[in-house]
Symmetry: none
Subunit: 227 residues, 2 copies
Amino acid sequence: MSKATILVVDDEEDIRELVALNLDREGYTILTCETGEQALALARAKTPDLVLLDLMLPGIDGLEVCKRLKADPAQQHVPVVMLTAKGEESDIVAGLELGADDYVTKPFSGKVLVARVRRLLRKVAETADDKALVKVHGLVIDPARHEVLLNGKPITLTLTEFNILHTLSRRPGLVFTRYQIVDAIHGDDYLVTDRAVDVQIVALRRKLGSCGKLIETVRGVGYKFKD
Amino acid sequence: MSKATILVVDDEEDIRELVALNLDREGYTILTCETGEQALALARAKTPDLVLLDLMLPGIDGLEVCKRLKADPAQQHVPVVMLTAKGEESDIVAGLELGADDYVTKPFSGKVLVARVRRLLRKVAETADDKALVKVHGLVIDPARHEVLLNGKPITLTLTEFNILHTLSRRPGLVFTRYQIVDAIHGDDYLVTDRAVDVQIVALRRKLGSCGKLIETVRGVGYKFKD
DNA sequence: ATAGGTCCGTCCAGGTTCTGGAAGGAGAGA
DNA sequence: TCTCTCCTTCCAGAACCTGGACGGACCTAT
């Protein structure tokens, strides 16, 4: 997985810089903007992995932004962290009721912020990344332990191979295009040729031995896991 | 199914060539123009699948073009990617608020550009309702799995056969000319003899067995799926 | 009913496109 | 540096699509 993209919405430049500095150091990709309108537009275009949202904004205020984000099916799973001034507890409560996931009160330290962000992203990753075991035809895929059992015996896969196998086997029968597979593993705009997937598939099939035929190729479209 | 048409709007020849080169290599059909007026005219005439739009244009500028495209019901669903100079964040945000779908900052690499374009086009394709299940007369067509069930049993079709069946069965009773069928599958201006369709239809009918008669010939016109 | 014209079904071979597989090289981490 | 992983590139084989030819089916006017 690539590093997450975080949208920072605040009308004070100092805050934006403080936040950006700290998060940038952690390797996150940062998008910043000043108003609620901009925030909604940016969120729609980029679908960030997390939103840091000041509640006191000119124009559309933070609560309204939060509400709209949570109303959009494409965005509603994106965690929102509110930035509030100390003592605005009513706002905090209102925000949480609207679906915000956490809050940080100003003034805050960079460390606290980073910790919160990291925790939330991890939480999302864990719930989104289906940790459930996948068992099919003598094959057990265990995402929690990052392990694959072939007829009871563990086999070693590289990270990419494992991810591809997991992606396909999680939705047996569904066809994935090569680029869908790439995206599922590396995130959007990761720059590779689609033939790179073929190579991984070949290696996977070989390592899976007799179970290799569970990965079916759909000519002209992509690959799917046998149903 | 066929490769998309992309409209590139930029007043710098270098940029146009760079973009065209990269996209052409990917198999996209490229239209280029230099001014906002030309862009609007071309967009109306050709309805491209995506627009790459420089914001700094002589005459009508990029933002205005974007605004007008998004105001036109016939065009508003066409994704717009802005090309901006680095540091013009205000323009980016303004563009996004006007409905642009993504942006790329100059200077950009061909790879990044291609990745963005591909991602957006796929996003559009996925939201289209092409993946809905079609059930008719003991026949189930499942685009998501790329699978056809004939009385509960799966039958194997080639890609073209599948696409034709899907096209016809989605609108039972409607007659499609041979060229309409070709267009639906390979996109406009794909040059084949209409005889090619017949051959596919024959194979389809044979594979469908008793359900073969669901595909009816309309003499002098084309084919339709039984209502 | 028949003849003539148009359109469709079928077969086959040639050419195109797609995939499997192998080899080589770049980059990250030990 | 060495190793491991992953990506690109190339090639050959296979699957597939298409064009063309031909006979039969259908329609219409006579």
